[in-house]
């Protein structure tokens, strides 16, 4: 895998072509030049890849943020759920 080539191609990927994938996970080919499959969830995307006989280990997964994601995002908060004494 040539990471530099992938990143260069991915960064040159036409923004307009991404609009149809807003709010979806996509699988870029190993060169970052084309989108092989897309789905709303990662699970569905892997199912689609399997149906199309595409090895999921050869693709690059990416989520294309959509309208529901267009908000300021903060770090997830992690916690250990415990019952405090009353």
């Amino acid at each position: 895998m040539n990471v530099q080539a992938f990143m260069k191609n991915r960064n040159l990927f036409p923004q307009d072509d991404l609009l149809q994938y807003l709010g979806q996970w996509v699988a870029f080919d190993e060169f970052g030049k084309s989108i092989l499959a897309a789905a709303v969830t990662l699970e569905q995307l892997e199912t689609t890849l399997a149906e199309d006989k595409i090895d999921p280990q050869t693709v690059h997964f990416e989520y294309i943020a959509g309208p529901d994601d267009d908000a300021f995002q903060f770090s997830p908060e992690t916690k250990h759920e415990v019952s405090l004494p009353k």
């Binding site: 895998m1 040539n2 990471v3 530099q4 080539a5 992938f6 990143m7 991915r10 960064n11 923004q15 991404l18 609009l19 807003l22 870029f28 990662l42 699970e43 892997e46 999921p56 280990q57 693709v59 690059h60 997964f61 990416e62 989520y63 294309i64 943020a65 959509g66 309208p67 994601d69 267009d70 903060f74 770090s75 997830p76 908060e77 992690t78 916690k79 250990h80 759920e81 415990v82």
Partner: protein
């Protein structure tokens, strides 16, 4: 190792804090590969956020099954995303950060969750603890170096 920030669309009007007419927001993402430590199974993600505000490194839970990772018992551990609490599982996995020239490869126990976070979170435990990272906001790239705590070669 350097990674350029990556962009995503601003849908609608940009907030007043952004440049007028801005159409994209930029975040310090890097591509990351997660592997089973012993098997030849992996997944590559183009966007992993180097998130200094996150205690944990978090991947989608479905990777546990997809990669055959062994979950470690961690009752009560949870992650809150957009106000909703999700149980968090943990597993040992291997990770690769590379810019195509250099490579950082290490094993760590990280979190896995069904929380619908739209990117991989590279937080303190399992990742950022092992690196010194500088963010170059004006030029929109980050530079990352492993530190003495790095658990790999």
């Amino acid at each position: 190792m350097k990674f350029p920030y990556q962009s995503s669309f601003i849908i609608g009007s940009p907030p007043p804090s952004f440049s007028p007419g801005a159409m994209l927001r930029w975040r310090p993402f890097a591509p990351v590969t997660i592997l089973h430590p012993a098997r030849n199974t992996l997944r590559q993600f183009n966007r992993a956020l180097l998130d200094t505000g996150s205690d944990q490194t978090v991947f989608p839970e479905r990777l546990l099954a997809a990669l055959g990772l062994t979950s470690i018992s961690a009752p009560g551990q949870a992650i809150v995303w957009r106000g909703i609490s999700y149980a968090m599982k943990f597993a040992l996995a291997q990770f690769v950060l590379t810019d195509g020239i250099d490579e950082f490869r290490w094993d760590a126990i990280v979190g896995f969750s069904t929380a619908p976070i739209p990117y991989i979170v590279l937080g303190q435990a399992g990742c950022l603890d092992y690196f010194n990272v500088t963010f170059f906001g004006e030029d929109r790239y980050l530079e990352i170096h492993k530190n003495a705590a790095f658990p790999g070669p």
